[in-house]
């Protein structure tokens, strides 16, 4: 039996009379690359805020990395990593300073931060950049560093928001290899994205529409089921845009 890292049962989140998450049920497993898709306004952000301990469910059970989202949200925060395309690193700090800052935030010891910094710089071939400001790094390198920093504290899960949107095709592939390698080590990768071709890289995907999960399976199965050649076609068939 595969190990659950995220378990969601009957999750409901309301804002006044508006139901942002309407009875969500799903599991995500250890080492899985899970794509979380939905139209603008479908309720993805609300769900992710709950999964990452930033917001409480109105009702239902949410367990992330073994902790309850209602009572143990602080513990959840320590056991997850987060990276978004728009902002992840401080541009006016150097590569090394950013690594030290994030290590510190996650309560890692100085010794451990030093060790992981060395490993990371070695692995990314980043030695020559260690004292450069982030603002001076090409976009592709920034993205790779941001991802490495997000998993510096070896979280159980890392949340990625449009991780390769707008990056060049070569960097994009190097980035996905990093994601595969991370998942192979047992870290769960939770991806949200508007880029449907990015969804094709995931092991399983869910599609949200109007606060509900309307599809959840491997990209291959979904394409078969909806008689589509791409995830994009599947998405357009089932995810109606929210009009309001």
């Amino acid at each position: 039996m595969e190990k659950q890292v995220i378990k969601v049962r009957n999750l409901v989140k309301r804002f006044g009379r508006f139901v942002a998450n309407d009875n969500l049920n799903f599991d995500v497993y250890e080492g899985e690359i899970f794509g979380f898709l939905g139209a603008n306004g479908a309720g993805k952000t609300t769900a992710i805020r709950i999964l990452s301990g930033l917001s409480e469910p109105t009702s239902g059970e949410v367990i992330v990395a073994g902790f309850n989202a209602r009572r143990e949200s602080e513990k959840i925060k320590k056991n997850i990593g987060y990276m978004c395309q728009k902002f992840s690193l401080y541009e006016d700090l150097t590569v090394k300073e950013n690594i030290a800052l994030y290590g510190g935030i996650y309560g890692m010891s100085k010794k451990l931060i030093r060790e992981r910094t060395d490993e990371l710089l070695e692995k990314l071939n980043f030695r020559e950049f260690e004292n450069r400001l982030i603002s001076d790094l090409p976009l592709g390198l920034r993205q790779k560093l941001a991802f490495s920093v997000a998993i510096l504290h070896e979280p159980r899960i890392v949340f990625l928001d449009e991780p390769t949107g707008g990056v060049d095709p070569i960097t994009r592939r190097q980035f996905w290899e990093m994601i595969y390698e991370t998942a192979t080590r047992g870290i769960t990768v939770f991806v949200t994205t508007h880029y449907m071709d990015e969804a094709e890289y995931c092991d399983r995907i869910s599609i949200m529409s109007d606060g509900r999960i309307v599809a959840l399976d491997t990209p291959e199965q979904l394409k078969k089921q909806y008689n589509a050649s791409t995830v994009e076609e599947v998405f357009i068939k089932i995810a109606r845009p929210v009009v309001n």
Binding site: D168, P169, I170, H194, D197, Y201, E232, A239, P241
Partner: protein
Amino acid sequence: MYNAIESSGLTKSFGPTKALDNISFSVAESEIFGFIGPDGAGKTTLFRIITTLLLPDQGNVKVLGLDTVSEYKKLRKNIGYMPGRFSLYQDLSVEENLSFYATVFGTTVKENYDLISDIYSQIEPFKKRLAGKLSGGMKQKLALSCALIHKPQLLVLDEPTTGVDAVSRAEFWNMLGKLRKHNITIIVSTPYMDEAMRCDRVALIQNGKLLAIDTPVKIKAGFSCKLFSAKAPEKYNLIQALRQFPATLTAYPFGDSVHVTFTGDTIDPALYDHLKNNGVTGALVNETEAGIEDRFLELMSKTE
């Protein structure tokens, strides 16, 4: 038939960064022409020069027969520009935004309503709503309406679909297709490789240089070798094992598979044994058709 845009030797630097490096191309009247490339490739700089908002260091562009530097005043009246980030006043309502743009260009909403009716009618029920309160897809429709309200001959769209969901993106491209009947030339930039197929012709752009200009079909056909798609449950191991195979030229993750090229045009039967010996079970390898992104990758590797 004349060219709506003719660019020759455009170069623009910001400090040590060459944003545009000797760019030459032409766009025919009524064409939908796409600039496809990642962030930082130079798309926005190019569009700002075309729309007369920025001066080139070298080279020149003629847009609608007018020089972007010496005849910018005349030109501006005939261009509709939808910038990537900002074009709507968040604290004005939908209809206020539209009539503002109409007034700036000395026209009225009524006069050119037929041009935008397809698009604007979808958001008209919300015309009293503040632009800042609209969803992404609706903002995009309003911004497009505003860019069109003075009936421009050239429409310049800088990443109109970035951050917009797939359903709205598909709708947006359908709207652009419908504008054809009004004889408007459209240039559009996007980092989404799959959107290339929606254009008549595209230019692939990277590091300020054009890697290729052609119809999307011809760009795909330019891929120089046979392309294969490999699948196996353990993708990371599959990539590593493929790269260790002597006949492999390139192996890249590509959606749910790995795209591979070999020194020959066929699959060496020894490949399957090699994969098994490297712990990859259940691998399937088939020939596949190269897409725009495959060709982009190939062109990038050659220039680097």
